[in-house]
């Protein structure tokens, strides 16, 4: 909507001050609010119109003034009018709403990624740099942030009203949402999908920091190991590296650089390797056999937590070469190799 920015700001400030209107704290918020005001406008106009008709007719044709009713047949012209005008308005709303939807749910490619794990009744945020937060989320101002979210138990829904974004957090499936915060401050995080006893306590705060403050926060609150480093340890301890070693004779496909590539599967389909695919192929490997490999990978369902899966995914995403995998492998093999008697042929 083309409204003068000065007027817009005045309007928004006035509404905020009277606690009737949420703050606009993301780049999406003004777009959402523009559609909201348009919808409010057509509602008020529509309601006024219906109200005028009813009150107008009620006054003009009340029995005292108009004792004998005049029978009128319907009118095709009028029927067409009030079919087409609402339809046209609703179609405008549809197109506008669809544009907004795609804006909210299509993250820009340069967005930084933060993982969110929802569980009864808390939000865990996992930053790639190794910062872990509970019921809190620190983000930099003026930078697109994408949240990759998953639930450990039931449906939750991650909502930041002041950013006008919300998305269901689903068990067993990554869902994403993104925003670009514009104003430093703290804002509510709500779980909006009913999730059991303490649903209303599953709330938190998102803190928007200026880039400098964010830098400071990142350094002060890191746990010391990044998600990818955690993932690397898991990769070794779960024995993934035994097959996914990247060597020519390995029984599992090479994972270096696999993220973002297109894979040919044995069933003939082609898939894009993204977070969801990686997670799913760890849990249900038999559903996703890369062409040229035997279906020998066991399922890891129930053996890795959602946090662990995020670590693994983050590790595979960051994997550019197999150098460290092979290093780990040799180390672990040489450890095991020490007590064995010479002459035994290793498989």
């Amino acid at each position: 909507m083309h409204i003068s920015p000065v007027l817009w700001q005045f309007l928004v400030k006035w509404l905020n001050a009277s606690a009737l209107f949420p703050r606009e704290a993301s780049t999406i918020a003004p777009y959402a609010d523009a559609l909201y005001f348009f919808l409010l406008l057509i509602t008020v106009v529509g309601l006024t119109f219906v109200g005028c008709l009813i009150f107008g007719f009620a006054i003009r044709y009340r029995k005292e003034k108009h004792p004998i009713a005049i029978q009128v047949e319907g009118s095709t012209l009028l029927e067409a009018t009030w079919t087409i005008i609402p339809l046209a308005l609703f179609l405008i709303v549809f197109v506008w709403g669809a544009l907004l939807y795609f804006r909210i749910y299509n993250p820009p490619t340069n967005a930084m990624n933060i993982y969110i794990v929802g569980k009864q009744w808390m939000w865990k945020a996992e930053h790639p740099g190794g910062q872990h937060e509970i019921n809190a989320l620190h983000v930099p101002m003026g930078r697109p942030v994408q949240l990759t979210m998953i639930s450990q138990d039931v449906f939750h829904s991650f909502s930041i009203p002041d950013f006008r974004v919300k998305r269901e957090v689903i068990p067993g499936r990554y869902s994403t949402v993104w925003f670009n915060a514009t104003t430093p401050g703290t804002y509510h995080i709500f779980c909006t999908q009913y999730c059991g006893t303490n649903h209303s306590a599953m709330i938190g705060e998102v803190t928007v920091l200026s880039p400098d403050d964010y830098e400071k926060w990142t350094q002060q609150s890191t746990s010391g190991t990044s998600l990818a480093q955690n993932g690397e340890r898991l990769f070794a301890s779960m024995g993934c590296n035994a097959c996914h070693s990247g060597s020519a004779a390995a029984r599992g496909p090479n994972l270096a650089g696999v993220y973002g590539s297109k894979l040919q599967l044995t069933n003939g389909s082609q898939v894009l390797v993204n977070d969801a695919y990686l997670r799913d192929s760890i849990l249900n490997p038999s559903q996703h056999i890369t062409a040229g490999y035997a279906p020998i990978m066991p399922t890891y369902q129930g053996q890795i937590s959602e946090d662990g899966l995020i670590d693994l995914v983050e590790y595979i995403k960051s994997m550019q070469s197999n150098y460290r995998v092979q290093q780990t492998l040799t180390t672990s093999e040489s450890n095991q190799a020490a007590p064995t008697t010479p002459g035994v042929v290793k498989p």
Binding site: H66, A69, G97, A98, E168, C191, A201
Partner: protein, 557 residues
């Protein structure tokens, strides 16, 4: 009746008037004659008493919910208790009140009479439907007494299947049984409308009340089985772990949402369509005019029923359905909004050049028009994809569906009850008191639910037991409104009960309406008509009525 009087209410001379000697009420005596009756009118009365009972139970829960929300902290009851409160409020109001409200009471009573028939096609199935209603109702109450259920009325998996140890299966069984009660009512209506119309009663001579019930019946018969299947799957998943909805067993939790809303979206049309039928009758009668654009209104009911089946995924826009399917469902949602707009304008234009009076049913109908317009328009907010992201799962949605279901349906139900009360009981209620109740309800309703739209845009999530303190002012307003609303609903209960014994004798046609039901005695005899009428006029033909009345006067005189 003078031409300048401001009412069309025309009661017989109270000094000489008496109730008819033989009516469906006194035709047989004893409790058993009611419990084993096949008479659609008696079953309607049984239903009316039953749904009123459940309405006030559901209403008590609503009152407790609003009381808890008076303060930001959860201080009146524990979280679990609160969750059980809103779950039971939803289950009782949706399945035990709204779905059967107009069809099972007014529909049962009037459908055969409006068609010129002696009874519904299957009187025994009709009675069975009432017994199933009570069986389902008792099982739901059983779940409540045993300790309640806290799934919300939506039974969302995997919460309902794996994470709660309340009486989910019991409550689901209750709803399952209630579904059959609803299917039988719908089935009965469809067959009756097709097969039992009086000679001359063509499809386009039927009152719009019948058309809207026809559309709702189709939804009941086609939609409800899906709910039954869904609840069965939930129960099986909970009891034996079949894993249809469990992602760790390869199931899909979103499948539940699809199945559930495939019924529950059409269900809102099951609830609202019969109400729309009532409004058509009421507005026509008190404007003394044929409903403007009869065919458009009739077909818009059918269009709503048809489109209503293809919009369910608009409940899932934020749940990770594909963006393109979201597009399709949003577009279809916009289309389903159009027939409702058509109806609203047709009702408004019915008043044009009429001769309008403002008796209680008409006041309720005005309330319906205003509130339903707001309810419908806010539905468009939610149908718009990008807007839905911010608004869904907040108090905006709570306000929206209460505007449609309570502001729309309950207003229509009360309009209908006040309109046909003289026909059902033969007696009038006190008019000034009932007008006061209509106005009180309207004010209370707006005060309760308008603040919730604002709360919703501020982001307050629904089903919250405690909330951030900045939302308190609006919540206090809403609770205050709920109190007024409660008074508005108690009043009719009192004066309608009073009128059963002390109300003025109503006579056959107090409103001088055109429907066949008004041409017979009130209360009607068991067989409805002394002889089966031959219909030679369209619905809402006020000239025919005038002609007929004039002739009667000559004959008697």
């Amino acid at each position: 009746m003078s031409a300048t009087s401001s009412t069309i209410l025309n009661l017989p001379d109270q000094r000489t008037a008496t109730l008819p000697k033989r009516t469906y009420i006194n035709n047989e005596d004893g409790l058993l004659s009611w419990l084993f009756t096949g008479d659609h009118k008696r079953i309607a009365i049984l239903y009316l008493i039953s749904i009123t009972f459940f309405f006030f139970i559901g209403g008590a829960f609503a009152g407790l919910i609003r009381l808890e929300l008076l303060t930001p902290q959860g201080d009146l009851m524990a979280s679990d208790t609160y969750n059980k409160m809103f779950s039971m409020h939803g289950i009782i109001m949706v399945f035990l009140f709204l779905v059967p409200s107009v069809p099972a009471t007014l529909g049962n009573f009037l459908m055969p009479i409006m068609l010129g028939a002696k009874d519904l096609a299957f009187p025994k199935i009709n009675l069975l439907s009432w017994y199933l209603y009570w069986l389902g109702g008792i099982v739901v109450l059983g779940a409540l007494v045993l300790g309640g259920v806290d799934t919300g009325w939506t039974f969302t998996t995997p919460l309902s299947t794996h994470y709660l140890n309340t009486h989910v299966v019991t409550a689901a069984t209750g709803v399952f049984i209630l579904g059959f009660s609803s299917i039988f009512t719908g089935l009965n209506f469809i067959v009756t409308i097709h097969r039992m119309r009086a000679p001359g009663m063509t499809w386009f001579r039927m009152p719009l009340f019948v058309w809207s019930h026809y559309a709702a019946s189709i939804l009941m018969v086609l939609g409800t089985p899906v709910l039954a299947i869904t609840l069965t799957l939930v129960a099986l998943e909970r009891l034996v772990g079949i894993g249809v909805f469990d992602p760790t067993k390869g199931g899909d939790p979103l499948l539940f949402q699809h199945l559930f809303w495939f019924y529950s979206h059409p269900a809102v049309y099951i609830m609202i369509l019969p109400g729309m039928g009532v409004i058509s009758e009421v507005i026509s009668t008190f404007s003394r005019k044929r409903v403007f654009g009869y065919t458009a209104v009739a077909f818009s009911s059918v269009a709503i029923a048809l489109f209503g089946f293809f919009v369910w995924a608009h409940h899932m826009f934020i749940m990770g359905v594909s963006n393109y399917s979201a597009l399709v469902f949003s577009l279809l949602t916009m289309l389903v909004a159009v027939p409702s707009a058509i109806k609203t304008f047709n009702w408004a234009f019915t008043m044009q050049k009429g001769s309008i009076t403002f008796e209680t049913p008409m006041l309720y109908a005005f309330g319906f028009l205003g509130l339903f317009t707001i309810g419908g328009m806010t539905g468009v907010f939610l149908g718009a994809l990008g807007m839905d992201i911010h608004l869904t799962e907040t108090y905006f949605i709570v306000a929206h569906f209460h505007f449609v279901m309570v502001g729309g349906m309950l207003m229509a139900f009360l309009a209908g009850i006040h309109f046909w009360w003289p026909k059902m009981t033969g007696r009038m209620y006190p008019e000034s008191l009932s007008k006061l109740a209509a106005v009180t309800t309207f004010i209370g309703f707006n005060l309760t639910f308008l603040p919730q739209f604002i709360l919703g845009y501020l982001g307050m999530p629904r089903r919250y037991h405690a909330y951030p303190p900045e939302f308190q002012v609006l919540n206090v307003l809403s609770t205050a409104g709920a109190t007024v609303l409660g008074v508005g609903y108690m009043l009719p209960l009192l004066y309608l009960a009073w009128s059963l014994k002390y109300g003025a004798i109503a006579g056959n046609n107090p409103w001088q309406a055109t429907g066949l039901e008004w041409q017979i005695q009130s209360p009607p005899i068991t067989e409805n008509f002394i002889e089966i009428p031959i219909v030679d006029h369209e619905a809402y033909d006020y000239e025919w009525l005038e002609h007929k009345t004039a002739q009667e006067v000559t004959t008697v005189g």
